[in-house]
């Protein structure tokens, strides 16, 4: 269940979130007193025009940017006042990022890219291997784990990116335009994969997209307009 009216106490609990940027002498108010509650297992899509603050919201939820005011609590952790070091450790435990440009490290194989978040854990090499193989199996690329990003198609690269995001079993996935750089067929495959992660693996997914077709996959679509969230359409997970 997703709420934007300031009621409830979900897995992701946002209250009065403000974000302002200074551009020269001009102050840009990107997010204004935003409230949001997302429960575990929700699949939420954020839509809105360019510059509406979608990516900013995602960055704030992922702890890679700091709000001007307000609070963000994820699974009981209030992250807005954490030190940089604590926030980094928190991200490793709770957040799986999926980027528009995949952001794989080109000199590492698919296996090594997926393994990255696990290097921060105390898992043994054997355990890490097992986790990575499982993640790559979920995204259907176990047979490509020795391939480098340049040897994969865009869709495959994004699936490796998804495997990297889920391998450490984070609390939620933050997807910033994951289909923005893909053709329709690959985009559909990626969105189907994200839906499957919600449906079969009970992941919580927060997605930013411009693509209405991609957004249709979400249970809830929220529109960001002038820094305020407006509830759109709720749908069943396909």
């Amino acid at each position: 269940m997703v709420r934007v009216d300031g009621s409830g106490n979900g897995l992701v609990h946002v209250r009065g979130l403000d974000k302002k940027y200074q551009r020269g002498s001009e102050e840009i108010h990107v997010l204004q007193g935003l409230n949001l509650d997302v429960d575990a297992g929700d699949f939420v899509a954020f839509m809105g025009p360019s510059g509406s603050g979608k990516t900013t919201l995602l960055n704030l939820l992922g702890g890679i940017d700091l709000p001007s005011a307000g609070s963000i609590t994820v699974a009981g952790d209030e992250i807005t006042h954490m030190s940089a070091a604590k926030l980094t450790a928190w991200r490793a435990r709770h957040v799986g990022f999926i980027f528009q440009m995949y952001n794989l490290i080109p000199v590492l194989t698919a296996f090594q890219n997926v393994e990255l978040p696990l290097l921060l854990t105390k898992l043994s090499a054997t355990e890490r291997r097992k986790h990575v193989e499982t993640a790559l199996e979920i995204v259907g690329l176990k047979d490509r784990m020795r391939h480098y990003p340049r040897q994969l198609s865009g869709g495959q690269e994004q699936r490796v990116g998804i495997a990297r995001a889920i391998v450490a079993d984070p609390t939620f996935l933050l997807c910033d335009e994951p289909t923005g750089d893909l053709d329709r067929k690959s985009a559909d495959e990626v969105m189907e994969l994200l839906s499957r992660l919600v449906r079969e693996h009970h992941k919580t997914v927060l997605l930013v997209t411009h693509d209405p077709v991609a957004a249709q996959r979400a249970q809830t679509v929220l529109h960001l307009d002038k820094g305020v969230l407006v509830e759109g359409r709720a749908a069943e997970v396909r």
């Binding site: 890679i64 450790a89 490793a92 957040v95 990022f97 952001n103 490290i105 000199v107 590492l108 090594q112």
Partner: protein, 380 residues
């Protein structure tokens, strides 16, 4: 260790750049090793100088002789334990390029005076028993393929004629820096054959004293004993004597230091530039690492690790090559008998390379550490 593939993968993403940077370290550290060996060659006398030995030479010049009669007088000075003497022969073997030091020594005391040179007893006894006997250093024997029993003709330059010697022994140094390019023969043989002018004269004396702390007093006493005589003396410690020799060749230390500093400064610029470019072109990747949970300190360590790896491998290879080069021996054919890269110089070179690695890497590593994830991900 589980992170090492991150360092290697990043280093080998631009193979040519990495190879060139490694090459810069290699060349610089090879040069460092070579210069250290040259420095060592010039200062060898200082390193091996005995703390309890004094050299007594003619006050006018080292090439002026001293009377052989001084030996007993010096021996009677309180604090003196042993006195020996030697003469510079200055001959050549077969060809004038085959230069090496030959000394006419006083066989009764010379061996006791220099215990760092090791000669087997049977060989020494054979040397004493043979008027034309000679003891040669291990290096010079190797250079000319001499062995015990060989008859060696040496053409005199100061003492005319061809002098024939029988190799009766080969000495070794007890330390790696000991000079084993010398050729010793008996003073009595020289005295017998030389021009009457030289009879009863020796080149210099070497004096062993009981207590090294007493060196200044004994040196003063020696010089005072022969003051106002036709053969006045100048006595100094073996170390001071060797330092005087080094000074004659000019300010080698300053020259080597200048060349070394310029090379290391250039290396610093080259490596600093390489690391700066390497970090700049993968800001986005570093941001992704931070986004997935790698700490600022880890990113700093990653970049520093790459810089230090380049320094250690490139520098290590350069020093290894320099070591191999010095193992081939004196490249000048006799001017630098002690051409040796000491382990301390290797360690110093490695530390200098790592210091360059640290300084070259610290600014790019710092900027990578301070990188804001949001800003870096926004860049295309």
């Amino acid at each position: 260790m589980k992170f090492r593939h991150l360092i290697f993968a990043n280093l080998f993403r631009k193979k040519i750049r990495t190879t060139l940077t490694l090459g810069s370290f290699l060349v610089a550290l090879f040069l460092f090793g070579f210069l250290a060996a040259v420095h060592g060659a010039f200062n060898q006398g200082l390193e091996v100088a005995g703390a309890n030995r004094l050299d007594v030479v003619n006050k006018v010049s080292i090439i002026q002789p001293l009377p052989v009669a001084y030996q007993d007088k010096i021996a009677r000075i309180p604090g003196v334990a042993l006195v020996t003497h030697a003469n510079w022969f200055g001959g050549v073997y077969q060809d004038e390029r085959n230069f090496f030091p030959q000394f006419a020594i006083e066989e009764e005391t010379y061996r006791q005076m220099f215990p760092e040179f090791i000669v087997p007893d049977d060989q020494w006894n054979a040397f004493i028993a043979d008027r034309e006997g000679a003891i040669v250093g291990e290096n010079i024997a190797k250079r000319f393929h001499w062995k015990v029993g060989d008859r060696i003709p040496i053409k005199g330059t100061i003492f005319p004629g061809t002098w024939e010697f029988n190799v009766r022994g080969i000495y070794k140094g007890s330390r790696p820096q000991d000079d084993t390019t010398q050729f010793w023969f008996r003073y009595k043989y020289l005295e017998e054959r030389q021009n009457p002018y030289w009879k009863g004269l020796v080149g210099w004396y070497v004096v062993r004293i009981d207590n090294p702390d007493d060196a200044a007093r004994v040196a003063g006493a020696v010089d005072e004993t022969f003051a106002n005589s036709p053969w006045e003396t100048k006595t100094e410690t073996e170390k001071a004597f060797a330092a005087g020799f080094v000074k004659q060749a000019g300010n080698i230390e300053f020259l080597l230091l200048s060349i070394g500093s310029i090379v290391f400064f250039t290396l610093l610029l080259v490596t600093g530039n390489t690391m700066a470019i390497a970090v700049r072109e993968r800001m986005r990747e570093l941001a992704v690492l931070k986004a997935v949970g790698f700490s600022d300190a880890f990113v700093l360590a990653l970049v520093m690790g790459e810089s230090l790896f380049l320094a250690a491998i490139g520098g290590g290879l350069g020093l290894l090559l320099a070591k191999l080069f010095t193992l081939r021996g004196d490249p000048t054919g006799g001017m630098m008998p002690y051409f040796y890269l000491a382990p301390t110089a290797v360690m110093l070179g490695l530390l200098a390379a790592l210091a360059v690695g640290v300084v070259a890497g610290i600014l790019p590593a710092w900027s990578a550490m301070r990188l804001r994830v949001v800003d870096a991900l926004r860049r295309v």
